[in-house]
């Protein structure tokens, strides 16, 4: 009876790590706002086919470059397409570009980084030198060069952005792996007789995951800007399919006659990037092990 009581008491006093991270995240107003912004855009992008708006490529020649009105809340573009509809469908391109390119960067970069930090020696030297060579070229320039090389399409833009972001994750995963490798629990895994594979998947990857999650969230924001830039340059989403970057590209020709064509996609990019940055910062604070 007593033992049950003490047991309950201690479990009250020491909450689980998961719930503590969540509580800390929740108490951070900015992070919560970031999460809400991101969730809003994700939901809108997912529900695009169900929303009561005209198709993104449907032209209304009777309403070309019209300002916001009841029929077209965000106005129409130079060939009479609904800006709101194009933004909603464009959100799919932007968010997908952000998520897919970061996905590519994580899937390629993290294994290489872990390998580099785990094996050290020549493997590490080779991987690190290539990483440094890639880092020598600025992120966006590298992405533009790769996209131009691969040919203009949204898929190629995502691949180009993904490859450009790989070195960030190699570096991060390598450093985190090296720091985890100094922990006694890695030695304890070897003492128990674990194989290298089990040690990496059960000990190293779970312990380096939090910083990679944070970096991934922040890089999604960068990738969304990169996709918009590539589309602006004509290297990303191809017409007539909408993306925020290509909308801006067209809108720059009509800034004086139809400013709303640039205003709304620009604001959307600003908001979603802000959202991902706030979310990433919040996750970093919430997952910080120093507060545990």
């Amino acid at each position: 009876m007593t033992s049950l009581a003490t047991n309950l008491a201690t479990s009250e006093a020491l909450p689980r790590r998961q719930s503590r991270v969540w509580r800390k995240f929740r108490s951070n107003k900015a992070a919560l706002l970031g999460g809400i912004i991101v969730a809003f855009f994700v939901i809108v992008a997912l529900l695009a086919p169900l929303l009561p708006v005209p198709g993104p490529a449907v032209t209304d020649w009777g309403a070309v470059r019209q300002g916001p009105s009841a029929a077209h809340p965000f106005g129409t573009d130079e060939i009479g397409r609904d800006v709101l509809s194009r933004m909603i469908w464009g959100a799919r391109a932007s968010l997908m570009a952000g998520v897919v390119s970061v996905g590519i960067a994580v899937l390629v970069g993290v294994p290489l980084g872990v390998l580099s930090g785990y094996l050290r020696g020549w493997t590490d030297a080779a991987i690190s030198r290539v990483t440094e060579a890639l880092l020598a070229a600025p992120f966006l320039i590298l992405a533009i060069a790769l996209a131009a090389f691969l040919g203009p399409s949204l898929t190629n833009a995502m691949i180009a952005i993904g490859i450009s972001a790989v070195p960030i994750f190699i570096r991060l995963a390598r450093g985190q792996t090296m720091s985890v490798m100094t922990e006694d629990y890695v030695e304890s895994a070897r003492a128990v007789g674990l194989t290298h594979w089990a040690l990496i998947t059960r000990y190293i990857v779970p312990n380096i995951f939090p910083p990679i999650l944070v970096q991934g969230t922040l890089t999604i924001a960068t990738a969304i800007i990169a996709e918009a830039s590539l589309s602006f340059l004509g290297l990303g989403q191809q017409p007539p399919a909408p993306s925020w970057g290509s909308m801006l590209n067209v809108a720059k020709n009509f800034l004086e006659q139809a400013p709303w064509m640039a205003l709304y996609p620009g604001a959307a990019i600003f908001l979603v990037v802000l959202g991902f940055n706030l979310l990433g910062d919040g996750l970093r604070d919430a997952l910080d092990p120093r507060d545990h």
Partner: protein, 359 residues
């Protein structure tokens, strides 16, 4: 004596600096250690920080690769085993870490941590392993329901118990503890030491305990090896060593144990200064710069471990001529009243232990 674990000429060099050209700077952390650890005994390895005792402990399990030498366990040399065979042998040889806060993977539940060694070595079915986890948790003084918790929810002493349960899970024959209690509060230290002793009896283990002072392992060790700068300077049955050490360094370590007695200890420091730089150890006996008994030969010729009979070995030129002070002398120096009280205390403790052990 049947040795379960033996080392021969075990050596480990660490490279501290390697310039692009020229010779690398090398530290001999373990400089040729030969030991025989008997089945079923508690063997303690003692020495101050930096003497290579933790390196030796890791070499015993080949958690690090030796530079030279052999480690024999049941007819196999661990130092030259292929990785797959070594992994299989890890079932028999387990390790307890010094720092309970960094030796448990924070991402795994206590149950998963304790179950892991059994899973790695394919011991039992899932249900059997779960039952064993619950049993082990009880054996180390925790509760079966703790299996679902995570390491950060426990105190240092509790975590060390979890570490011990994990070490026991695969059913080892030899348990090596690298200062298993030095990171714990003094009150908790005694509990964990008692736990290790009980488990040793229950599971028929051979214990190898690394410690930096002789106080902790006093009532626990059967035999003690004293290390200084990577070498064993004295190895003896614990009772003999505590009563009459043969090496001046062992005497110095004994003198560092607090004795509860007024005026029991002469007001002098046995050994002064820090150990010499292990990169460039002094010529002759490595201990001579700090040794109060050093003579000319000690400064020139390095002493080798010599058999002194009665299972004692010592590496000292003057071992036969010196009469060094052990703990027994100090305790004799207590006042009669103090001696009486200590005797009463010892009696009470003995009664309590007998009472607490339901047989």
């Amino acid at each position: 004596m049947t040795a379960i674990l033996s080392t021969r000429g075990l050596r480990k060099d660490f490279v501290t600096a390697k310039p692009l050209f020229g010779e690398a700077t090398v530290v001999q952390a373990v400089a040729g250690v030969s030991l025989d650890i008997a089945a079923g005994e508690t063997f303690a390895i003692v020495g101050e920080s930096g003497c290579g005792k933790s390196t030796l402990a890791r070499l015993l399990l080949r958690l690090i690769d030796p530079t030279a030498g052999e480690v024999w366990y049941k007819g196999e040399d661990l130092a030259s085993l292929p990785p797959a065979r070594l992994r299989a042998l890890r079932r028999d040889l387990q390790f307890i870490f010094q720092d309970p806060f960094s030796s448990l993977n924070p991402q795994m539940s206590v149950g998963a941590l304790i179950e892991e060694p059994m899973r790695v070595h394919s011991i039992g079915t899932r249900t059997e392993r779960r039952a064993k986890v619950a049993d082990l948790l009880t054996r180390v003084g925790l509760r079966p329901e703790h299996a679902d918790r995570y390491p950060h929810e426990f105190s240092g002493g509790q975590r060390q118990r979890i570490g011990i349960a994990r070490a026991l899970a695969s059913g080892p024959t030899v348990l090596i503890g690298d200062e298993p209690v030095s990171a714990l509060d003094v009150s908790i230290q005694a509990q964990v030491v008692n736990l290790l002793e009980d488990l040793k009896d229950d599971f028929g283990l051979t214990l190898v305990i690394i410690a930096h002072d002789l106080a902790v392992i006093r009532h626990m060790a059967d035999r003690v090896a004293v290390m200084y700068l990577g070498e064993v300077v004295e190895c003896a049955p614990a009772g003999d060593l505590y009563a009459h050490p043969l090496h001046p360094y062992a005497e110095a370590l004994l003198a560092a144990i607090p004795v509860a007695s007024y005026g029991a200890r002469p007001a002098r420091t046995m050994v002064e200064g820090d150990p010499p730089n292990p990169i460039a150890p002094p010529p002759g006996c490595k201990f001579h710069p700090r040794c109060p008994y050093a003579t000319d030969i000690c400064r020139v010729e390095r002493p080798v471990l010599a058999d002194m009979g009665g299972g004692r070995t010592v590496a000292c030129h003057r071992a036969t001529e010196l009469s060094l002070q052990g703990l027994a002398d100090l305790e004799q120096a207590r006042t009669p009243a103090a001696r009486g009280r200590f005797a009463l205390y010892a009696q009470a403790m003995a009664d309590k232990t007998a009472h607490n052990r339901p047989e």
